[in-house]
């Protein structure tokens, strides 16, 4: 899947050399950024306000600024909604940028942490942590989630044939399916061996943001931030990689450096997101496609816009999760799957360039 096949580049701008785009921004990308930030701000407020108990905007502001509000409202805002909103923002940005990196690195429009089994790797490692080591606090299994994500990324890359240089999008997805199947089978057996953990594991596996304390988010957030800082400058290298390995090497881009840094960033982003929220699929698939709609093929802008669009989608899914079965709520991972699966089907139906 090269850029020439029209998959990574919008059909409207054929023939623009992505590396030669020396532009800093276009009206379209600026619009996406500004609009995105405004929407993100509004959604954050909505996420704090909406829930089984609605909270007015004035109450929110006075609770945050330390004004006079009832203890219940203060707890709802500062103790529950703000941590949850923060978690959604961190997870959304992490998943979206991980997805954008994977799609660009593997030249695969279907790549994302959930479909390619990276999240399943995290889930497996967390199951091991819970069942094997008796670790039940999210703070304890963060490192397991990261390690699981790393091994799964490497395994899928090897099975999917990335080492041979020729990447088949379908094969990568199927490698992810195979890996997820094996790991979920083993998790199932572990679960039968120790039914007491059945409940805890099942809730985590569905992907949930409710009840995530600030401590987990704050522990993972610096790692995610670091990975995002590593990821953003990779855009230039990825643009060049899209031209093909030989040309990229000829242009003086270190293939190895770009690849290794990308894989490291993907691991931390996907593993960190899974540690906070459990495996959440499809955010990483949808957001980069939306970002490319505004940014074209330039990975620098795709990564930046994904970083803003990811939290938007995640917050929307999380708010929907609270509204669909109000006053109860659905795990956000299920909402994202219900939104994302139709998008996958649409992508398949629309794109001939997928070379399926």
């Amino acid at each position: 899947m090269t850029a020439e096949s029209g998959t990574l580049r919008r059909p409207g701008r054929p023939g623009i050399h992505p590396h030669a785009l020396g532009r800093s921004s276009t009206p379209r990308t600026t619009l996406a950024l500004v609009l995105g930030l405004v929407v993100l701000g509004l959604l954050c407020l909505a996420s704090i306000s909406i829930g089984s108990r609605g909270i007015g905007l004035d109450t929110i502001f006075s609770a945050i600024s330390g004004g006079e509000v009832s203890a219940a409202d203060r707890h709802a805002v500062l103790g529950l909604r703000v941590p949850r909103t923060l978690a959604a923002v961190v997870v959304g940005a992490a998943l979206a940028v991980a997805g954008a990196l994977m799609q660009s690195l593997t030249r695969n429009p279907l790549a994302e942490p959930g479909l390619l089994g990276v999240s399943a790797g995290s889930a497996f490692a967390v199951a091991i942590a819970i069942v094997g080591f008796g670790i039940t606090s999210p703070l304890g299994y963060i490192w397991f989630a990261l390690a699981g994500a790393f091994f799964a990324t490497v395994a899928v890359a090897l099975i999917g044939g990335m080492s041979s240089g020729k990447v088949d999008p379908m094969r990568m997805v199927l490698a992810g399916v195979a890996l997820s199947a094996v790991l979920s089978g083993i998790i199932g057996a572990l679960r039968i061996a120790d039914p007491r953990t059945f409940g805890a594991l099942q809730v985590w596996e569905a992907g949930i943001l409710a009840g995530r304390g600030l401590d987990v988010t704050l522990t993972v957030a610096p790692l995610v931030l670091l990975a995002l800082i590593v990821a953003l400058p990779l855009g230039k290298g990825l643009n060049t990689l899209a031209l093909g390995d030989e040309l990229a090497a000829a242009l003086g881009v270190s293939l190895w450096k770009t690849r290794v840094l990308s894989i490291l960033a993907i691991t931390i982003l996907a593993g960190g997101a899974a540690a906070i929220a459990g495996p959440i699929a499809f955010i990483g698939l949808m957001v980069p496609h939306a970002a490319r709609f505004f940014a074209g093929a330039d990975q620098r802008w795709v990564l930046l816009i994904s970083m803003i669009f990811g939290p938007i989608l995640m917050l929307t899914a999380d708010i929907l999760a609270r509204l669909i079965v109000w006053p109860g709520e659905m795990p956000v991972g299920l909402v994202s799957a219900l939104i994302g699966a139709p998008v996958l089907v649409l992508l398949i139906r629309r794109r001939k360039a997928l070379k399926l």
């Binding site: 490698a175 195979a178 299920l334 699966a341």
Partner: protein, 357 residues
């Protein structure tokens, strides 16, 4: 060995058509007979071993005596307690493998199988809706709820995937990826129903969802087997159009096969076979995917051999059930074993193809 991932018209007529064409069937090569014989032998050996395993172990000689009906308590253990389960494994393995063989031949793709297309997850959704329900409203409970739910859920999902993937005909890869998408959505629905359900109900449904051969008595096994066997004549009718479709849609059409209706009908038979097994046991993944391909690799046949696939399916499911019963301290559902084995097989297949380029 044209096990590529790309759907390509298989040149199964590669050995130039010889003068024997009069009889419209080529002679089955010796190798394929040998593989079939070996598989039968393997099934017999594994079957005798399985009949002897359990809390009351028997050696092969005792098993054979008991089978002949001469051993009092031994006979009760073997014939009444263990034989039903092993018969179920053999028949259901056969049905799953045949279903997979039909799917793979139609999609001309080693990955086309009912489990990848989302059938099992859909059947699970049907069962959950019927037995657990939403908001405490259940349609039907027990065996009837499970069977009806699995059939309707599975068939509905198969139809949905087929029509979502339909665009000037159904192309193998689109079918598979649409199946992955639909599976993901249904998986979300399933988790949601399970999370909302009472813990005991959820545990019960989750155990069904893992796929188990736990039907222990003849009275539970025989009806399921009878229905599966009743479907087999349909399969015989479909062999000839199937082989013509295998040559490519255009060739089949020029031979007078009505391509899309025939394809839909054969898919229907495949779905029916899996649905019957799923209703009886819960989803048992990957037997349908792996067995036909392993049989084909062993026999080195150009197309997917139906008889050898069936034998291989029986062998795989029996072997998996033995592992499920014996490998860990407590028995686990056979579906978990096949998921691990089959996922590993799929990974190996992909890695092999990737290396080959």
């Amino acid at each position: 060995m044209t096990a590529t991932l790309r759907p390509e018209p298989r040149s199964s007529a590669a050995p130039a058509p010889r003068a024997r064409r009069r009889f419209r069937r080529t002679r089955r090569p010796v190798r394929s007979w040998l593989v079939g014989l070996g598989l039968c032998l393997g099934i017999a050996v594994l079957g005798i071993i399985a009949l002897g395993l359990g809390d009351y172990p028997l050696n092969p000689a005792e098993v054979l005596t008991a089978l002949a009906g001469g051993g009092g308590f031994d006979s009760t253990v073997v014939l009444e307690w263990r034989l039903p389960r092993i018969t179920a494994a053999l028949v259901f393995g056969t049905a799953l493998a045949l279903s997979g063989a039909l799917f793979q031949t139609l999609t001309r793709n080693p990955l086309g199988s009912p489990d990848i297309i989302g059938f099992s997850t859909g059947a699970y959704t049907g069962v959950l809706l019927a037995t657990v329900g939403i908001g405490g409203v259940t349609v039907a409970d027990g065996l009837i709820g499970t069977s009806v739910g699995a059939l309707i859920g599975g068939l509905g999902t198969a139809l949905l995937v087929y029509f979502l993937a339909y665009r000037d005909g159904v192309q193998g890869f689109r079918l598979i990826v649409v199946g992955i998408g639909v599976t993901a959505a249904l998986h979300a629905v399933n988790s949601w129903i399970l999370l909302r359900a009472q813990t005991e109900t959820a545990m019960g449904a989750a155990i069904w969802g893992a796929g188990s051969l736990g039907l222990t008595s003849w009275s539970a096994v025989l009806p399921a087997i009878a229905i599966v066997i009743a479907v087999l004549p349909l399969l015989l009718i479909s062999v000839r159009p199937l082989r013509q479709l295998e040559l490519g849609d255009d060739v089949a059409a020029s031979h007078g096969v009505r391509v899309e209706p025939t394809r839909l009908a054969i898919l229907g038979i495949g779905v029916l076979l899996t649905a019957l097994v799923t209703a009886a046991t819960g989803p048992i993944a990957f037997v349908a995917l792996a067995a036909p391909q392993i049989a084909r690799l062993l026999a080195r046949s150009p197309g997917i051999p139906l008889v050898n696939s069936a034998l291989m399916g029986a062998l795989v499911l029996l072997g998996s059930d033995i592992i499920a019963q014996q490998a860990l301290a407590q028995p686990i559902p056979v579906g978990m074993v096949t998921v691990v084995l089959g996922g590993g097989y799929l990974a190996a297949l992909l890695a092999y193809q990737a290396r080959k380029g």
